[in-house]
Subunit: 311 residues, 4 copies
């Protein structure tokens, strides 16, 4: 299949189920993919932050892409993160995930090494030159300090370097600036602007987003697909109501005690606990060195599922 331009719809960043030994749990991964496809999602984003890409070994990453690509067999677009610190390392991941069948790659600005906008531009130009598939920029300030300036994204879009943006900044004003630039600028047709937020998908679609990449869609893909369809149909009141239900459900990400663990351990642990409680995956464990949720914290996740009508 040809990769869509622009990519649209709900494209969940797919969780990576693990065995108690922290190996990729292939049967659970397939079950999760089936759950997402049954939910009607429009694409799959593997090896994103929600997928614990930062925690997986290269072998684990490759296994995830090969497994999912073999399973979905061209039914829907499969994107993969190529998450690493700088250009040459990212290009190695691009080679690996495209060899494994990914149809687009998702790439952040350099991190660990301090950066300057000129270095970010150079990074994306080199990565795109070396990638056999479209490159989507990933703006995730919680992990990669700084922001991708809208002006830079649009320049790289116009030059054919970038095929899209996944914006996980939560800043709808900046997001909108990119949306406004697309189309207004020669060469940007087909560029896809995607929100990475769970909480403002309705608003992002209303201002012109092409789609959404919400981690919570692992837990409730049907909800996000419903929300997307309502928004596309212009039924904004119903979209808002669906979004508010999902916002309430998102409270599960705070199940973990902040005195005992970081926000990431809590959120990723809660997504996996929810998938386990819903019977989608076989084990709720997260990768090291994340702190596991306690039994009491998992009970809190269960209460959120119940309130959202999911158990």
């Amino acid at each position: 299949m040809t990769f869509p331009a622009p990519l649209t719809g709900v494209v969940p960043p797919v969780c990576t189920p693990l065995t108690p030994d922290r190996e990729v749990d292939v049967p659970s991964l397939l079950s999760l993919v089936d759950h997402l496809v049954a939910g009607g999602v429009h694409g799959l984003f593997l090896l994103g932050s929600t997928s614990e890409a930062a925690f997986l070994t290269d072998r684990g990453r490759r296994q995830v892409v090969e497994t999912v690509v073999a399973h979905v067999g061209g039914q829907l677009p499969v994107l993969a993160g190529a998450i690493d610190m700088t250009t040459a390392r990212v290009l190695d991941h691009v080679a690996a995930v495209t060899a494994a069948g990914a149809q687009a790659v998702v790439v952040t600005a350099p991190f660990y090494a301090p950066t300057h906008p000129a270095e970010i531009a150079r990074h994306y130009r080199r990565v795109a030159a070396g990638s056999p598939v479209p490159v989507i920029a990933y703006d995730i300030p919680v992990s990669v300090p700084g922001r991708l300036p809208a002006e830079l994204v649009l320049e790289l879009a116009a030059d054919g370097v970038l095929a899209g943006l996944k914006d996980s900044s939560g800043d709808l004003g900046g997001f909108r600036e990119v949306v406004a630039g697309v189309g207004a600028r020669a060469g940007t047709t087909g560029f896809s602007v995607l929100t990475g937020s769970e909480l403002i998908v309705d608003a992002a679609l209303a201002v012109g987003a092409d789609g959404a990449v919400p981690g919570l869609a692992n837990v409730d893909p049907h909800g996000y697909v419903r929300l997307y369809r309502l928004a596309r149909a212009g039924d904004w009141d119903a979209a808002r109501a669906e979004q508010e239900r999902l916002c309430a459900l998102f409270g599960l990400t705070r199940a973990g005690d902040p005195v005992r663990m970081g926000a990431g351990s809590s959120a990723l642990g809660a997504f996996k606990a929810a998938l386990y409680l819903r019977g989608v995956i076989g084990c709720p464990v997260t990768a090291e060195p994340q702190i596991p949720l306690s039994a009491g914290e998992i009970k809190r996740v269960e209460a959120f599922l119940a309130a959202a009508g999911l158990v």
Copy 2:
């Protein structure tokens, strides 16, 4: 050879010379190692930030360690960075660099993924459990957000998890807190406290540091070794004069125009330009996506070398 406990002296983070095609330049790397050994350094730290570890592919990293270990053949301790985002990925690097002959590994707290002190502790415990060689913690806030709390470092030292600390924070007060804890606490004998600063090596030694890991020692190893010896001899006035000469030389790291590039491109580009101008390496190029120094900027590096009596 047995890895020293504590590790002491001047242990430069060895630059990684590259060819114009951004491959590891093996002859230049050997020449640089010879230059450092001739300068009297007490150990070699490969694959640190100054080594552009964040920019090198896994293949390049392995090549660096194998090349240097084969060349120095047990004459002096060789440490290697195992720089990656989280536990399992770090352990893969630990396996690779120790297979290639590194006698200790240098490991940061997790990055990209948000962290909590409990997750940092868990990370180091898991890494140490899986490492065949001593683990040295690397505190480098410019790359890894947050700080390694002194209390946490000391707890991990007392438990035999950590064999040392390379502190690149520039915060001598916090550094001193670790120094004070070592020895005062059971089980910390042999723990090595190393400063990563170029500018306060005399002060760090005066407050009890075991040694230093200054990037600028690539350019002037003799200077840092002289400084170390003067300090160990208690000749603090002469040590201070030597340090001040090196502080002036450090001005070369600002050769690059900050409107055009980031601080990293400027500093690493200047180190390599200086090594090239001194005839140590064959090509001053840095890894992508760093911005190269212009001819005029390289002239500025040359002026610093001249002022320091190095050309």
Copy 3:
């Protein structure tokens, strides 16, 4: 008049026109207030960030409130910032601005002094206990580090400490969490949730905001009032089109050269240049130590006004 609960509509943070000597320019201030009232705004917020409250002396602050209160004479609600570092200093400003006639005060978390959520809560409780008028919390992370946690805002709302929130964080997801909590929680009826963004007023109203406090409404109050009315009438497409026109106009805030000045000098200088070019105020000068826009930069502001149909 009774202060409305909740406060709704467009409540511009009123610019403070200055004379070339950096005194409050009273005739220009009155002209600006007339311009805003003629634009149909629903309230006036004096001494906010856009008002250069951080730059005005206590005398200047008092003069602003007295001048405006005397002029509008109860026609519409007048709020005033009580912007200072900590509790006792804020209470002195509360006393001054309410003596001058302000009907509500707008207060940030403590700054300069490092803070903890428990200290923020204590601060608001003490300020509210000492204020004769309603207290509105001001969340402006660009000036006051950290965020006001939604949970804390809602707790203080439920306890009658806070009458509203002006959220200038740009984070619509967090904003929405406050909106969802109001009404859902006993004691929060009448609490006003206001966005401080210029760029996402339509989206904020769609998710349930009571109103907006956009700095750009100084330049184009009619536009924001139109946008508000369209949103209230449920005509979201027209509201979005109006918002997009205003987003384009907001580009004037980048008129100043970032190599030469900070973002604040550029934005506040551009607002005042626009008001000057529109004939509303007599002098476009900003307070010290802000860098003035050059003639060429003011031309850029003029081009934005022309594109928006405002000259």
Copy 4:
């Protein structure tokens, strides 16, 4: 008396004792000043961060300066902070504290308002032009985001704008850069470089500091004066031993539970508790909205005093 150029020695940032009603406790303030003078300090810095300047009303600030100036009557230099957000407000404080008798003012870069180096330079030039007494720059990144670049400080020193620097950044490398520039640059003779750290006074003096402004000197002025004299006499080993005793004592700043309060509440609360326990002041209360230490936390302060031989 003429204000010394350079100012040298131990210049404590004087705590501001408060009554249970959070008014300035004049008898306790006089007692504290007597305690410091008896300890041999070389100057007094009023209205600094340790003095809770950010928490005091204008009336309280004035009262502090008047009280102390009247009491010490020219025996030793008295500096006062003029801590506020921007130029005009700072100038009002400069006028107030110099009218009350301060012989120099201590001024930060602008805060709350975002800043640019050009705006910081403009700020100091305007403040100095309007100040009847010398201006000392105050670099305190924990309160004022960013850093004062060494180059900027030296430029302002050479132009006669600044008479000194109080560096509370903890970054000895940057501190040293300022020290090196003073004297090397025309017009900087008499410029005073002071460290604001409690923990590295020996090291700062060794690299060329003129003096120190340690908050902990409220608790143990004799210790810091002894340290200063030992360093000036070149007895670095004894100076280091004294500094290490004071580093251990500094542990009292962590007496407060970090789950319950911020670092500031803990540190300032502990200084005052120590002064109370030593019988110097009548009440250990801190200003609102700081969280008071519990009885158990005060016991921890007492243990630190005992260990340091101070009770």
